[in-house]
Symmetry: C2
């Protein structure tokens, strides 16, 4: 009776509405927050560099080639294509929301986006340039120098500044406003019954033990194949490559599930072509659970609600090379 009266009072002053809302604070997943870059000129410079294939030896491969911002920040192929069509060793992780990962690359060998950005440029199997050559190319272009001046306060170009700018741009690549985030923020109509069922099962089965926080992953290293071994021809050993410890064999950074509908194929080897396949395998290997068809469909429906606002900017126009710019060497 007292309760009913209290409820009625709360209702009458509108408080009940708030208390009935989903509280993101009580959920293992938190909403993605939009970012406001501090230095817009630095972001603009980073965007140009991200799209500039002259950072590669061939003049053909840019950051955007494998982290294609038209396609969820990935290349949507099992393992990437590098200089002279070399087959990459691992699936290109999405650059979307990557700033919130605890470290970069599947094995976490780069501590942040800036350190990551320098990797592919100088990797002979990827962009196949060198930091010296990349800097020489960019430095030769007066319009780039002017943009460095705006971004850093002086025209000097070095690899530290190049990677700082790319990282600053990448930090803007967050994807707020997914339907799931709307639900987290109190819009209980944002999800269908199936999607909500899927989310509940995702939590109750233990998936959120690793896939949690704002990026639904990205904040821990975990073994691939906890209850059963993961079968793959891919030779990557994961975290062990970094730590040298046998215990870290097949330990990888937990990938973000944000925009997972767009970032197929899945796992470090790109071994799962569909979300259904990925959920089934993860169930068996990681949480010791054989999901039935309906359960898989519900979890997949939930996962598709994690697609947020995609990159929203104009295609950057790159300043031309000139007679002093080193030439690309696509066939050497």
């Amino acid at each position: 009776m007292v309760m009913r009266t209290l409820a009625a009072s709360l209702l009458s002053i509108g408080v009940i509405v708030t208390s009935m809302q989903v509280s993101a604070a009580n959920e293992p997943i938190q909403p993605i927050k939009p970012v406001k870059p501090e230095n817009a000129e630095l972001v603009e410079l980073g965007k140009m560099l991200f799209f500039d294939p002259r950072l590669s030896k061939s003049g053909f491969i840019s950051c955007n080639s494998c982290h294609n911002l038209s396609m969820g920040g990935t290349d949507n192929i099992k393992t990437s294509i590098g200089h002279k069509w070399q087959q990459g060793p691992i699936n290109a992780p999405t650059v979307l929301n990557a700033s919130m990962n605890l470290a970069q690359f599947w094995d976490g060998r780069a501590k942040d986006l800036k350190e990551q950005a320098g990797g592919p440029i100088a990797n002979p199997g990827e962009m196949a340039s060198t930091h010296d050559m990349a800097v020489k190319v960019i430095k030769s272009i007066p319009q780039y120098q002017a943009q460095f001046d705006k971004a850093f306060g002086s025209k000097e170009v070095d690899i530290d500044r190049v990677t700082t700018a790319i990282a600053a741009f990448e930090e803007t690549l967050v994807t707020p406003d997914s339907r799931f985030d709307k639900w987290l923020e109190g819009d209980k109509d944002a999800l269908t019954k199936e999607e909500l069922e899927g989310y509940k099962l995702f939590k109750s089965s233990g998936c959120t033990k690793c896939h949690n926080g704002p990026v639904v992953g990205g904040n821990s290293f975990e073994k691939m194949g906890v209850y059963k071994p993961y079968k793959t021809d891919n030779p990557a050993v994961g975290r062990m490559e970094v730590t040298g410890k046998e215990d870290d064999r097949f330990v990888f950074k937990v990938p973000t599930l944000r925009n997972v509908e767009l970032t197929y194929p899945y796992f470090h080897d790109g071994g799962a072509a569909s979300l259904e396949e990925a959920v089934e395998i993860m169930g068996k290997l990681q949480v010791n659970r054989e999901f039935n068809k309906e359960e898989i469909a519900n979890i997949v429906a939930f996962l598709k609600t994690l697609t947020g606002k995609q990159p929203d900017f104009k295609l950057p126009i790159l300043p031309p090379s000139n007679n002093s710019t080193p030439k690309p060497q696509p066939f050497e």
Copy 2:
């Protein structure tokens, strides 16, 4: 005396100002006019397809890979990179203002942009897909079907519609508002003394015999090497490939000089790395003229005034593949 009075009268009523302005009608080059697309949904669809690497076998090469709209609609390498890093036979021509060419490809083998668009998709050395496969991929994606519905009035996807849409997008890729066009339209301060000297020499030497009209070329086929033969290792024979006539050996479509500052390297074989080199060679071979250093510098200065407004749109976001979409085959 009569003349002076007339002049004074004209001046007094402001007519003399008009008569002193440059009249584009009297120049061999005309300004580029902006275009207003009739069907915005068709253009939007074409833009998505232009950026979609799923039109290629590998899932890695899109129209934009070799006609990069961040880089003057070209790839800025001598000859393009195709499927499995095959070396292309010829320099990728710019897609900017290409709608105004009398025909497409260097040898004019496609009559328009629509016919052109189908070529690279199915060329084993370029995107290496087939029209059937490209259609199958696009048709499998409901969001694409919805865009076809908006653009064409029904969801049906076929290669005719795919290439119609790409061509409609490409028709919007015109580059008005260059400094030269401003000068043509009466702003006599738009060019420096050197640029104007360069233009005068460009005309008086006979360059405008072929490089004329709104796109400064693109409206005739001409022999490469009129006064002296052009030396190249490139086996392309040009127009002869289409007509079978020996007279058409080394006859190529005259390339546009619009945005030529951005479309290096030059000639059908990409053989000239710099504008200076290109002008020097063209002088000797095509108009029988040995330009001195200052003359070359002036002509190059003029050519750089032909850079117009570059593509200005948001990076398209592509709809994801799904379980029924054929998979890319990058390494097959």
